[in-house]
Symmetry: C2
Subunit: 232 residues, 2 copies
Amino acid sequence: MLMKSRAPIANSLLAALSHAEFQRILVDLTPVTLKFGEVLYEPGDAINYVYFPNDALISLLTQVDQNSALEVGMVGREGMAGIALALDMGTTPFRTIVQGGGTAFRMEHAPFRNALARSLPLQHAVHLYLYALLTQIAQTAACNRFHVVEARLARWLLMTRDRACSNHFQLTHEFLAHMLGVRRAGVTKAAYELKNRQLINYSRGHIEIIDAGGLEAAACSCYEVGKTKLIS
Amino acid sequence: MLMKSRAPIANSLLAALSHAEFQRILVDLTPVTLKFGEVLYEPGDAINYVYFPNDALISLLTQVDQNSALEVGMVGREGMAGIALALDMGTTPFRTIVQGGGTAFRMEHAPFRNALARSLPLQHAVHLYLYALLTQIAQTAACNRFHVVEARLARWLLMTRDRACSNHFQLTHEFLAHMLGVRRAGVTKAAYELKNRQLINYSRGHIEIIDAGGLEAAACSCYEVGKTKLIS
DNA sequence: CTGCCTGTGTGTGTTTGCGAACATACTTAT
DNA sequence: ATAAGTATGTTCGCAAACACACACAGGCAG
């Protein structure tokens, strides 16, 4: 299935602004290219910039025990990174990394706070996104507790697809293992099973979704729950 | 017997207000007694009231698959229930239940929204709490993924203690199992082990923390991480 | 006193996932 | 061409937790 091409301003938070409001903050928006693996914040870091992804994809990770981390949230064009600034906090609790390279708008922290104070529609959009993020994190928590690796992998791939607007991404089993908080061998086993069922295909850091419908059936219900929240 | 002006305000959000600000919203605060097991909201319910616990203790649960639920957050005197209202959302994503009976202040949704629009200090307090809640939920997600039942049980008891300000609560293994998302037998085994080590004592729905220090050692590091956030 | 309900202790067999390897491939650099 | 590095396939033994089930004990109501 081919997805249709993207509009220049794909980010939902920015798209929610009226033309006039958008023009006012445009001067402070810098288009940037985010590269895979780039670390935007470490936990506790000061938030110097916020990011509004267009086709980039960002992961929020919670670190535990110095060695292992777990993805708790995924930020695509429906949201933003650095949202703690909207809660009057200058630091972020999450290790925040670029999971899928692409473009985003970047804004310095002071202009963002000013824009937020000035623009009720922006406040509103940010509030709605915060609610969605809260819900997503909670859903992910429950999902990680109750569902098997294969279902979680399927969900993760579908969530990535929805945000990247592509059936095709560049990710190794190793990376997926870190996101899902499981062993690399566990991902290989689950991915192999999904490949056997003609739902996905992959090879050397290259993953493609072949049958999205079938993958949804293989995923846990958490995907459906989260999907409805995404459409905002 | 209403002694509003003289009642001790244990709730941190309310305590953060100046005397003048507090007087202004006092008229809309109703002291209520919350009973164990009471359901404040089901997921998707409209938020008619928000609650500011004093010594009551509230659990936020995410439901999955119709039968199982998982506690993702705990609300005591440091926070409030119904915070989605502060995000312009009229409904809550969480099943919200009373985990420990006690007193709280209740406020109807319209006065709360008005108070929030009017009072910057209240906004600020709510924002900080939202940040803490977001962090807590994410930490709980990672904890549920990586740590064994015994450590999670220890953490849960300590968190409850901090919020209830008591070493002694009324809870069955069955209830704990629902909160932690594990089997009742799993809780019995973990609790038995903690009892053997003289850290806790329990009998027929009665739990007491004997050695809080030892229990901290038995808990995972997630407790320490969350504890620092509580003090705000 | 008796019976019933609730709460806790325990056991068996199964599943999931872990840690730690090792075995293949494919890709790139020398 | 050879070597080194990276990505995937597979295995073994083990620990945690599961589902299901049953036993027993405290406490309350009749």
